[in-house]
Amino acid sequence: MSDLKRLALHDLHVALGGKMVPFAGYEMPVQYGLGVMKEHLHTRAAAGLFDVSHMGQVILRPKGSYQDTALAFEGLMPVDVLGVAEGRQRYGLFTDQAGGILDDLMFANRGDHLFVVVNAACKEADVAHMQAHLSDTTEVIAVTDRALLALQGPQAEAALARIVPSVAAMRFMDVAQLPSGYGELWISRSGYTGEDGFEISVPEAGAGALARALLDMAEVEAIGLGARDSLRLEAGLCLYGHDIDTTTSPVEAGLTWAIQKARRAGGAREGGFPGAARILRELAEGPARLRVGLRPEGRAPMREGTELFTHDGTALGQVTSGGFGPSVEAPIAMGYVPHGQAEIGTTLQGEVRGKRLPVTVAAMPFQPTTYKR
């Protein structure tokens, strides 16, 4: 794994018994001693600590006014950036001229600048993309000296509040910059598991001690990428490069909730983002295909790449993420099917090892979310 980058907390993962695998150019812990199933269930029952330092952290610092930077950022996404209040975070996605998705991300209004978190595999391209389009108004600064931890689960608040008591007052998608013994923490009340929890950006110099302090708490266990994937799948959340990419539009992906009124037809700042013609048309007329939740009958998982068919054998599309949901105790999946087959309750067939097995279009999330709104 010599070409792979190492996380700042690499030695801690190894000491904790993490099984390291290549992911997005990094050596990442896929699981620890508990194993994927127990790590998943522990996160839903108590609190799980994830190292997501491979993700890209970026500051957008206005050269002029904050408003100019926010408006320029809106030029890259079908998202209302200007309407995000100070101290709040929002989900966003970069689109391309064809209306496909270049990446999905989180961004926060931190008063005089924006803070952005992007996917690891896309981060270099994203920074270049932002530099190419925002440089008139904005300095694009990749933050490379900070780790990113996620603490997720019903006991995440109690655990983190022992270190920074004021997090207890934060609501879902609030952000705060808080002093601590580990350096200034950039905390958001969010995550990617469907659970209440926090993402914590911490200076690399303090990251190991912070992780240790959290892991020393009875309710906190280290959780690997394997459980991160099953948790986000149960929560119905997209994984970039699998469920969404440049071949899928935000409307096809069912991410219309991320396109606020201000950017839609008739809105205050209608259009003006890459791929607007297609995306606004799909919002008005409906997309040709849609991302749907899928519940295979029986216990056999339908994994990514499983072909989907109607009962009379018409090919429909593919599963884009699939596996076993430890909390729902059944196989679950998501994939794309034509609009006419996307209604909840529609029975389709998925081909597993040459056999066509029944699978039903189902509502997502598969597991109720517990965000602290």
Binding site: G35, G226, S230, A300, P301, G323, F324, P326
Partner: protein, 119 residues
């Protein structure tokens, strides 16, 4: 007990050979969530893919270790695939085979040789 390079164990039970996967294999697979068993009374050849094991990570096959007839399968694994992790060398056997000559088992590894393989 005998062992294959594919991390299966073979145990003689009367005239039959009982087949399962080793502790080492079960740990490497991770939590098993689904097991697809063959039909009893199936003739198989050595190397045939006869079972599918799905773990939280991936699908893998169990191969028939020798030529013969599958005479019994462990239905308990269909209802409780997690048994494979809990008791891989005991209650989580996969199938029982009838073979012509039990002497072919001498070609497989004994426990010391298998432990050397997995190092």
């Amino acid at each position: 007990m005998k062992y294959t390079k594919e991390h299966e164990w073979l145990r003689v039970e009367g005239e039959l050979v009982v087949v399962g996967i080793t502790q080492h294999a079960a740990e490497a697979l991770g939590d098993v969530v689904f097991v697809e068993l063959p039909e009893p009374e199936t003739q198989v050849a050595a190397g045939d893919e006869v079972c599918v094991i799905e773990s939280v990570k991936a699908a893998s096959d169990i191969l028939a270790p020798v030529d013969g007839e599958i005479v019994e399968v462990n239905e308990a694994l269909s209802d409780n695939p997690g048994l494979v992790n809990e008791d891989p060398t005991g209650t989580a056997w996969f199938f029982k085979m009838k073979i012509d000559d039990l002497a072919v088992l001498n070609d497989f590894m004994d426990e010391d040789e298998y432990n050397e393989l997995i190092g």
